[in-house]
């Protein structure tokens, strides 16, 4: 199957957002509120960021049929946040993703008898637009926030709402936070070269988070947090040929974090760890380490992230459709991944410029659990350029 024009293939298969049916990507609010602050922002701030995300093409030996190149996504984020009166802040976020590329349809055996991916046809393009608004009220010992979000693309629509609160102890050294969010989504896959079995289905997500942050010394703090998410509805990926998932998923995540300032070095050590587990059998560990160095020419921060997941109970490299539930989606497989990245940020008067670059490399052998490597796991590069301006 050679490359076909967009006209011949019609609209294409899954967008990254849509293929996030195995996760609760859209559940988290688009705007991460700066709940650490105890007072409204002093200035109004507007910003724009441009990112390019590029997945490595698959090796010829891994592809049964279809295109080899994978996703190429251009992301534009724009936002504004402003203080309102004495105790409020208001924020608006807009994000646009322009995606093109092929995606895995199913996993079978290559001519050599190895697992290989049948990919969708030619490059397709899809655009996603997400708009979110949020507000925050600051009172003496804490703050309350609320927000709404709407994301829309050719084959997916999501509407979400969230509320959260943060409350400080009297000495201000401990902060308790909690948040609740809910998302109602619709999936209406586009008929194209990949036949789809459904017209329109719904799914929803409900999530709750509680956490505590404690200042230990003048230069260090720690936090611990727990989140629980319930997803139900149509959780199967309609663009995958062999895919049948339960209509409910219970997810838990425990997060630990630490920040340490080194005054003599003017540097900061940042560490975050998360353990994730759900009732589909997936266990995952995430560890992120950063060191931020303050220099005359801004802050430079190299970072590393290690991720390991153990496969879902019903996952197998080549899906077994005789079972009640089955999937060959690499996102539910066992693998490990390492990200190496660097960011540079500089303040010049009322402007802030930032540059990010990272490389994500995944491999079955990098994972802590066993399991055979799915042929479609991804590697990618990501670059981001951002600018913000603040004013009264």
């Amino acid at each position: 199957m050679g490359r076909q024009s967009a006209a011949e293939t019609g609209r294409g298969p899954a967008s990254p957002t849509l293929t996030a049916l195995s996760s609760s990507a859209l559940l988290l609010p688009a705007y991460a509120p700066d709940a650490a602050a105890d007072a409204p922002p002093e200035f109004t701030e507007i910003g724009i960021r441009y990112s390019n995300y590029q997945e490595d093409a698959l090796g010829a030996e891994s592809v049964i049929i279809g295109a080899r190149e994978r996703y190429d996504i251009d992301v534009t984020q724009a936002y504004v946040i402003a203080p309102v009166g004495d105790s409020w802040s208001l924020g608006l976020d807009v994000q646009h993703d322009a995606m093109s590329g092929a995606s895995p349809w199913f996993v079978g055996l290559t001519a050599e008898g190895q697992p290989g991916v049948a990919m969708s046809g030619a490059s397709i393009s899809d655009n996603r637009l997400e708009v979110s608004a949020n507000t925050r009220y600051y009172f003496d010992r804490g703050s309350l926030g609320g927000g709404v979000l709407h994301s829309r693309e050719d084959d997916y629509d999501a509407r979400a709402v969230n509320v959260d609160g943060a409350f400080n102890s009297e000495d201000g050294l401990r902060t308790y936070s909690a948040s609740v969010s809910a998302s109602n989504d619709k999936v209406f896959p586009v008929q194209g070269v990949i036949p789809v079995r459904i017209d329109e289905e719904r799914r929803q997500s409900r999530s709750v988070y509680v956490g505590v942050s404690q200042i230990l010394t003048q230069t260090s703090l720690v936090r611990v947090g727990l989140s629980y998410t319930l997803q139900d509805g149509y959780l199967t990926d309609p663009y995958k040929f062999f895919d049948q998932r339960p209509d409910e998923r219970n997810e838990w995540a425990l997060g630990l974090g630490q920040r340490l300032y080194l005054p003599d070095w003017r540097g900061t050590l940042r560490a975050d760890y998360r353990f994730y587990s759900d009732d589909w059998g997936v266990d995952a560990h995430t560890l992120r380490l950063e060191y931020s160095q303050s220099t005359l020419w801004g802050d430079i921060t190299p970072y590393v992230r290690y991720y390991s997941q153990r496969q879902a109970d019903f996952f197998s490299v080549i899906a077994d459709s005789r079972q009640e539930f089955f999937a060959d989606d690499y996102r539910l497989s066992s693998f490990g991944a390492v990200t190496l990245g660097m960011r540079w940020e500089m303040d010049v008067r009322n402007w802030r410029v930032s540059l990010f670059g990272e490389r994500y490399q995944s491999d079955g052998d990098l994972g802590l659990g066993g399991g055979e490597e799915a042929p479609a796991i991804v590697d990618f590069w990501r670059f981001t350029l951002g600018m913000t301006y603040r004013f009264d």
């Binding site: 996760s23 650490a36 007072a39 900061t268």
Partner: protein
């Protein structure tokens, strides 16, 4: 069972030992941008979104706290 209790106590002791009272006027270092839980909100959103769509795990973070404590 006694080993895990001992481990828990060690962690608790370490936490308590590391705990000192930090006065409201001693929060200079805690106010540094990089000392915040989220130093760049939009970057956090992008990272979250990217990884949640490529990996199975999600959630777990979101605490407030630290910072300058200014009102």
């Amino acid at each position: 069972m006694s080993r895990s209790v001992a481990l828990f106590m060690l962690l608790a002791a370490a936490l308590l030992a590391g705990c000192e009272t930090v006065q409201p006027w001693e929060r200079a270092y805690l106010s540094e941008r990089e000392m915040q839980w989220v130093s760049d909100g939009r970057e956090a959103v992008l990272i979250n979104h990217t990884y949640s769509s490529k990996e199975a795990a999600s959630g777990g973070f979101g605490a407030a706290g630290g910072g300058c404590g200014c009102r």
